[in-house]
C-alpha cells in the first residue's frame, strides 16, 4: 500500500497542481473571455487569439516562461525586449498601406498629429495616479491605438507593463466603433457632419515612390528615436510602390507579417502571469487607455474644426475625419465614414478619412520616438 502511495505522491509531485493558485484560475477566465471575443465577436482575432492563448499558457504552471530557457521567454526576449518584432510589423504595415489619400491632401497629416494630443494628456493623467514618467508614457501611447508602437515603447520604457498595455491597445482598437462615435457626435453639429469634401485627385506612381523616401528623411532627422519604426514602415511602403520587388512586398505583407504576428501575440500574452496582471494598476491602465483613446479622438475632431476656420468654402474638412487620426487602420476611417453617412447618406468620407488615419500611424510612431528621446 505504501509503495502505491509513494508512486501516487511522486506522480503528484511531478504535476503542476501544487503550483496553481486562485490568481491563475482568474487569468484563465480572462483568457477564455479574450478567446470568446476573438472567435465569437471577431474583435481583432489575429492578435487577441494568440495573446489570449499566451495568457493561458503562462498561467498554467510550467517553465514555458522560465528566464533563459522557456520557449515563450525566448520569443519574448528576442522579439519584444530587443524590440525586433514591432519594427518588422511596421515593415508589413508599410507594405500594405496606400499613402495616396495623404499625398493628395497633405493637410490631413496635421490631423494625424492632433490625435496624439490624447496621448500627452493621458500622460499627465497617469502621472496623477502615481505612475512614473516612463510608465505614464507607455500608458499614454495606448491613445494612439497602435499595438506595435505600444509594445515597442513599453519594451524600452516599462517592460513590466507591456502585456497589459498591449492588450489594452488592441482591445480599444477593436472597440473603435463603440468608443469613437459618441465623442464625434458630441463635438460636431449636424451641419458639420454633412460637409462634403472635394474628390481627391489622382496620385501618380512617382509621387508615391517619393513619399516613403521623404518621410524617412524628415522624420528620422527630427526624431532619430523613431528610426526603427519609421525606417521599416517607409521601407515596406517603398517596396510596395516601387513595383519592382513584388515578391518581397508580398512576403512582408503576408508570410512575414503572419509569422511575427503569431510570435508577437503569444509572447505578449505570456507577459501576463496572474501576479503581474491582478493588481489595481491594471484597472487604472484600462481606464486611462480608454480616456487616452477618447481624448485622441476629440483632439483630431477639434483640430479639424479649428482648421475649417481658416479654410475657404468648398475646401473645408469634414471634422469627422479628424477622429481617424488615431492609428487604428482602417477601422477608424470606416467609423468616420459611417458616422458621416448617418448624417448624409450620399457623403462618401472613407478615402478622405484614410489620410488622417495613415498619418496617425506616423504620428504615433513619432510620439513614441519623442517619449524615448526624453525618457530613455
Amino acid at each position: 500500500m505504501d509503495v502505491i502511495m509513494d508512486i501516487i505522491m511522486n506522480l503528484w509531485s511531478t504535476m503542476a497542481f501544487d503550483n496553481l493558485y486562485w490568481g491563475n484560475v482568474v487569468m484563465w477566465g480572462i483568457a477564455f473571455l479574450l478567446i470568446y471575443l476573438a472567435i465569437k465577436k471577431g474583435y481583432e482575432p489575429l492578435l487577441l487569439l494568440p495573446i489570449a492563448f499566451g495568457i493561458l499558457l503562462v498561467n498554467l504552471p510550467s517553465d514555458i516562461m522560465k528566464e533563459g530557457s522557456g520557449l515563450l521567454w525566448i520569443l519574448y526576449h528576442f522579439g519584444e525586449e530587443w524590440a525586433i518584432i514591432p519594427p518588422l510589423i511596421f515593415l508589413g504595415i508599410g507594405a500594405m498601406t496606400d499613402f495616396g489619400p495623404v499625398i493628395a491632401n497633405p493637410k490631413t497629416l496635421l490631423l494625424g498629429a492632433a490625435a496624439q494630443g490624447g496621448v500627452y494628456l493621458t500622460f499627465f493623467g497617469a502621472l496623477a495616479l502615481g505612475f512614473t514618467a516612463a510608465e505614464a508614457a507607455t500608458i499614454g501611447i495606448i491613445g494612439g491605438a497602435d499595438g506595435p508602437t505600444t509594445i515597442f515603447l513599453s519594451a524600452k520604457l516599462a517592460p513590466h507593463l507591456m502585456g497589459v498595455c498591449a492588450v489594452a491597445a488592441y482591445s480599444y482598437m477593436a472597440m473603435v466603433p463603440i468608443i469613437q462615435p459618441p465623442v464625434m457626435k458630441a463635438l460636431t453639429t449636424e451641419k458639420e457632419r454633412k460637409i462634403r469634401m472635394k474628390s481627391l485627385r489622382k496620385v501618380s506612381k512617382l509621387e508615391k515612390i517619393f513619399f516613403p523616401i521623404i518621410t524617412a528623411i524628415v522624420v528620422i532627422l527630427i526624431v532619430p528615436d523613431a528610426a526603427a519604426l519609421i525606417g521599416m514602415f517607409c521601407f515596406g511602403n517603398l517596396m510596395r510602390e516601387s513595383g519592382v520587388v513584388e515578391r518581397l512586398s508580398n512576403a512582408a505583407q503576408n508570410e512575414l507579417m503572419n509569422i511575427i504576428t503569431i510570435f508577437l501575440g503569444v509572447s505578449v500574452g505570456a507577459t501576463m502571469p496572474a501576479e503581474v496582471f491582478l493588481t489595481p494598476q491594471v484597472i487604472y491602465i484600462f481606464v486611462l487607455g480608454c480616456v487616452a483613446f477618447a481624448t485622441a479622438t476629440a483632439c483630431g475632431v477639434l483640430l479639424a474644426k479649428f482648421m475649417n476656420l481658416f479654410l475657404k468654402e468648398g475646401e473645408k474638412i469634414n471634422p469627422l475625419i479628424g477622429a481617424a487620426g488615431v492609428s487604428a487602420v482602417p477601422m477608424a476611417a470606416r467609423v468616420a465614414h459611417k458616422v458621416g453617412s448617418e448624417a448624409d447618406r450620399k457623403n462618401y468620407l472613407l478615402m478622405h478619412a484614410m489620410g488622417p488615419n495613415v498619418a496617425g500611424v506616423i504620428g504615433t510612431a513619432v510620439a513614441a520616438g519623442m517619449f524615448l528621446s526624453v525618457l530613455k
Binding site: L109, G112, A113, Q116, V203, I217, V219, L375
Partner: protein
C-alpha cells in the same frame, strides 16, 4: 522645467514639427514628381 513638462512640451512640439515639415516636403515632392512626369511624357510619345 520639470521632466514631465519637458516630455509634454517637447512631445507636442516634436509631433507637430514633424507633420508640418512633412506636409511641406510632401507638397514639394509631389510638384517635383508631377513636373518630372510631364517632362517625360512627351518623350514617351
Amino acid at each position: 522645467m520639470s521632466l514631465e513638462m519637458t516630455v509634454f512640451v517637447s512631445g507636442i512640439m516634436g509631433v507637430f514639427l514633424v507633420m508640418v515639415f512633412l506636409q511641406i516636403m510632401v507638397s514639394l515632392s509631389s510638384k517635383l514628381a508631377i513636373h518630372l512626369e510631364k517632362r517625360e511624357s512627351p518623350d514617351d510619345k
